[in-house]
Amino acid sequence: MTREDIIKPENLVYKRTPVLTDATMHYCPGCGHGVVHRIIAEVIEEMGIQNNVIGISPVGCSVLAYNYFDVDFVEAAHGRAPACASAIKRLRPETFVFSYQGDGDLASIGCAEVMHACNRGENITMIFINNGIYGMTGGQMAPTTLEGMETVTCPYGRDPKVMGHTMRLTEMLAQLPGTYFVTRQAVYTPALARKCKKAIRMAFENQKLNKGVSFVEVTSNCNSGWKMTPVQANQWMEENTLKYFPLGDMKVDGKFDPKFIERVGTFDQPNETIFSLRKK
């Protein structure tokens, strides 16, 4: 039996989307980036927009995202992907434009750009991978690092008195009038990945409506940076991260859900989760 005999239409149950290239991804085993890449690529394929989309990759672990998508890509300077996406959408309004950023890129150095792109209501899709750490540079503290969590630049745990509080940027963006769809998703189980795909599909479809930013945060892990096995990392995320970064839609069709904020607690009173957290 040859390879061709096996790959017959009646046998075919799964096919990798052609929107992903043949390049081997450099992501660590267990990392969420690869899953989110595939979801985005599948959405692009299903919407039939492979020849009408421009992606913006960040600086961080996903800096080489452009090698994995067979669509036109622009590699942005650190934190500036929302500015890049804004300009491209304004110059090429007929094109689907998405930015792809990590938490150091989006929530730290690029805080101004993401705020203002959202505030202007740019008609773009933003994907935000939040794993609470700087992965590529070797596991340093990010604005999204949980209080008490250890990283190489807070080896005794993040002390909010010295290092500031864990930043929930997505909740802030949801309150800007320029955002149309804001949600927090995860991809560490098949069910969650399917849900995330629906959200990303909606975030792309919304560009046809011309109503503002569609923002999808994917809360993810970094087993290398967290110094855990993939299974441990997912477990740890479920037990800790998701308490502070609960999953769900914050804003749909331009309507903000106030219950979501009730669920996470107000900004001046973070819910009692994670102080003095130690993972070892």
Binding site: S57, Y66, D72, V74, R92
Partner: protein, 364 residues
């Protein structure tokens, strides 16, 4: 509207030229003394189909100079003719972006209406960003093709010229102006409106551009990242070859009253204009002095300065800074002719009489 003669500020001329030459997008942030660029664009509304100046050009007041230059980077990535403008402190913030634009080999236009520094400095005119603009500014081995307008007409003309050079070399081009040329009003002959490039034209002429349409059948990536050193060296070789070609083909200057001159001013931009008045005063006293005005600061018109300067007894490099261009003048003439510097800085403009006095002092 057809060709016509108008009275406008240098900053307005930049904006008007952008609209009329078919620029696709402007992204900027207010800073004195160049805010009239954005003000004029927002008053003319080239993005609004109901405006008489409608061309479809996008205009956006960005949240910062960082955002502006990165918007320019991204716009240029898709083959569009895009620009920004700023003044010294804002231009400093743009240096990272300029390095990326040069590294990704993208065409873009950046205007710097220079004010006195360092730091927040002053808002008055200066030429103290010569080093920053011609020698680098951002990181890495790159050059900015630098045009130095000395009149409002040149502010207007250099926008289209800047885009032409930017696309010829796929490299960022700077217009290095200053508060005098930005704020002065002079007569300008403006062109008829030219249409913006069509998407088909961009697909044909810019195969490198990430237009989103994958018309070559393969995805196009715009990046300045190459992790393998040998490949990065090859990219640098290609960029350097462009720079050698640019030095050969596009160094520009103007020579004024040099034929019978015994002494030479070398000055650019508003300093050159003031020197022209000093020449008038000097010649009335029988001092034969001429002027070489570099129009491109990079590539510096080395051959012209060497050739004309070589015939002189002495050369005075007149700059609104503490002595920056003088290094290029000295490199051009070697040890053949003594070169001295005269400058006022920190926002002070030298007067024609001051320059004349400096010339006389040098002659003695």
């Amino acid at each position: 509207m057809a060709k016509e003669l108008v009275l406008m500020k240098g900053n307005q001329a930049i904006a008007e030229a952008a609209i009329r030459c078919g620029c696709d997008g402007y992204f900027g942030y207010p800073i004195t003394p160049q805010s009239e660029v954005l003000e004029h664009l927002m008053a003319e509304r080239p993005y609004d189909p109901n405006s008489p100046a409608y061309t479809g050009m996008a205009v956006l007041q960005a949240e910062s100079e960082l955002a502006s230059i990165n918007m320019v980077y991204a716009g240029a990535s898709t083959g569009k003719r895009v620009m920004t403008s700023s003044s010294s402190p804002g231009f400093s913030l743009m240096q990272e972006g300029l390095s990326y634009i040069a590294g990704a080999e993208l065409p873009a236009l950046c205007v710097n209406v220079v004010r006195g520094g360092p730091g927040l400095g002053t808002i008055q005119p200066s030429q103290s960003d010569y080093f920053q603009t011609t020698k680098g500014g951002g990181h890495g081995d790159y050059r900015l093709i630098t045009l130095a307008p000395a009149s409002v007409q040149e502010m207007y003309d250099f926008v289209e010229l800047g885009f032409d050079l930017a696309f010829k070399y796929r490299n960022p081009v700077a217009i290095l102006s200053d508060g005098v040329i930005g704020q002065v009003m002079e007569k300008v002959m403006v062109d008829d409106y030219k249409p913006r490039w069509t998407d088909e034209y961009i697909e044909q002429t810019c195969p490198w551009a990430a237009t989103g349409h994958r018309s070559t059948g393969k995805h196009r990536i715009v990046t300045s990242l190459e992790l393998e050193a040998l490949k990065q060296e090859a990219i640098n070789d290609r960029i350097q070859a462009k720079y050698r070609k640019c030095e050969e083909e596009d160094a520009r200057y103007e020579a004024i009253q040099c034929d019978d001159a015994e002494y030479l001013f070398v000055a650019y931009g508003s300093a050159a204009r003031i020197c022209m008045k000093s020449i008038e005063l000097a010649r009335a006293e029988g001092i034969k002095v001429g002027l070489v005005r570099p129009i491109t600061l990079w590539p510096f018109p080395t051959k012209a300065v060497a050739e004309i300067g070589g015939r002189m007894k002495k050369i005075l490099s007149v700059e609104m800074n503490a002595g920056q261009m003088i290094e290029d003048v000295k490199l051009a003439v070697g040890c053949n002719v003594p070169v001295e510097h005269f400058g006022r800085y920190g926002g002070v403009i030298p007067t024609p009489v001051e320059i004349l006095d400096a010339l006389k002092k040098m002659i003695k």
